[in-house]
Amino acid sequence: MRVVEKAQLMSASEIDRTLQRVAHEIVERSGGTKHLALIGIVRRGVPLAQRIAQAMRGIDGVDVPVGILDITLYRDDLSKVAPQAVLRSSDIPFGVDNMDLVLIDDVLYTGRTIRAAMNGLFDLGRPKRVSLCVLIDRGHREMPIEAQYIGRTVQTSDTEIIEVRLNEIDKEERVVLVDRVEP
């Protein structure tokens, strides 16, 4: 099985503009940022959450806390993931009770990651509201989960993979659509 790049979906500047836009949307729809907090899902949701928080500071000096959530321990496919899936640390330095939380991830696909993330969040307390923000929604849901803030919706086939590459992790900045093809 080979992987070939089919198309570039977003450039660096498009990613930046999109994050600026969703930052505005989150502030607008939250009706006050007093109880607002962002939770980045490990790994690529974390830099995205930090960038959205940065963008919010530019809007009207809104400073929202950012937490980090690793969902590995909450997966429902423990025996199917790679052997000894490496755990990364979660770090949510604020109480989640009565908070208005926005989960941030790069790609929304089956919805299972978000299901796991919500399980993780509810172990920490009882948030007032949880919404979801993703850079790409690629469809193919297996759970009744939808995002409230979407960077871009992309029609995909099952064999295709969306790779969000971010400077902080991948040393490049773009979103590409790749496909698995028989050799």
Binding site: L73, P83, A85, L87, L124
Partner: protein
């Protein structure tokens, strides 16, 4: 980074990289100890067999709590109730347990090497919860994690171990772990408990010295591990309590000889007023209760690593790929 085997029988054969990996993987589980809801469903439907052929309270409860917080069930075998009393062999006992299909065996045994022997005969992962005077790997890991949290590092520390080192598997696991990070060891206790051969147990790169005056042993220490004066593993006449207190008890006055930010560990259960004074045990330098809390985190990590990722089918598309781990059947079972 993956481990070479799913068993954890001893710390001695592990590399510094593997030991750091185990400590790092314990961190997410330390966070879970602070959650209001501490129970995960990660190992739901899995069973951990706890076979303690030697009495144990805290280690057994710690492993049982770790399993339960991961969502796993436990099967318990305890020495007093076991059929060993009826003459069943160790191998028959563990094979009977294994026939009940647990996913992992945690065992403690009074004979050094017993978990190794069992691991060679079972196809499930075996975790050593203390074997004779050999090793106590999860204790060694939780000690290192506690030290790392307090001191910020486990590199190049002066570690003083006080007490009955000859009979201590905790001391051996401490030395085999911390020795790989450049720590220097001072072993101190009555001469019959600190025999000369201990200086050689960790190879030529680990500096181990024996000292028989506690004041000298404590000077400049960054870490002090106070061992329990244990009666159950002594086969020779021992020292009187009065003489031990006079010669080796860790008191506040003696602790002042150590580095000002030295931490005091004790594997428990403590004999207050014998090897340690209550003032030191409850003092700010004592990390005894942190050790207990960290013990659950370390054991959760060990159970998670032993049991998870068992399937050999392909990785989930969203998961990062990791190289396949060596199965036991391909490495040591044939050896």
């Amino acid at each position: 980074m993956t481990l070479r085997t799913r068993d954890l029988l001893a710390l001695e054969p592990l590399t510094a990289e593997e030991l750091s990996f185990l400590l790092d993987q314990s961190k997410p589980f330390q966070e879970i100890q602070r959650h209001p809801l501490k129970k995960l469903a990660t190992l739901r439907g899995k069973t951990v067999a706890l076979a303690f052929f030697e009495n144990s309270t805290r280690t057994r409860i710690s492993f049982a709590t770790a399993a339960s917080r991961l969502g796993a069930d436990t099967m318990n075998l305890q020495a007093e109730a076991s059929s060993l009393k009826k003459g069943e062999s160790l191998l028959d006992t563990v094979q009977t347990l294994n026939a009940m299909k647990p996913d992992c065996l945690v065992m403690r045994h009074a004979s050094s090497g017993a978990p190794d022997f069992v691991a060679h005969h079972l196809d499930i992962p075996v975790i050593n919860a203390g074997d004779g005077t050999h090793e106590h790997p999860s204790q060694g890991l939780l000690d290192a994690l506690t030290i790392r949290d307090r001191k910020g590092t486990i590199n190049n520390l002066n570690v003083t171990i006080l007490g009955d080192i000859q009979h201590s598997r905790v001391a051996r696991s401490n030395i085999h772990l911390l020795g790989k990070f450049g720590c220097n060891f001072t072993l101190c206790g009555p001469a019959m408990w600190v025999p000369e051969e201990l200086e050689k147990i960790a190879g030529p790169n680990t500096k181990i010295r024996r000292v028989f005056k506690v004041e000298e042993a404590l000077e400049g220490a960054d870490v002090i591990n106070v061992l329990r004066v244990q009666t159950e593993r002594q086969h020779e006449p021992s020292i009187s309590a009065e003489d031990y207190i006079l010669g080796y008890q860790l008191s506040a006055e003696r602790l002042r000889l150590a580095s000002p930010d030295a931490v005091v560990l004790h594997p428990g259960p403590m004999n207050r007023g014998i090897e340690i004074t209550p003032e030191v045990a409850d003092g700010t330098q004592s990390v005894v209760l942190e050790q207990v809390t960290n013990g659950i985190a370390v054991r959760m990590a060990l159970l998670y690593l032993a049991i998870s990722g068992d399937a050999e089918d392909a990785a989930h598309p969203a998961a990062e790929s990791a190289p396949p781990r060596n199965r036991r059947s391909t490495d040591r079972k044939d050896a």
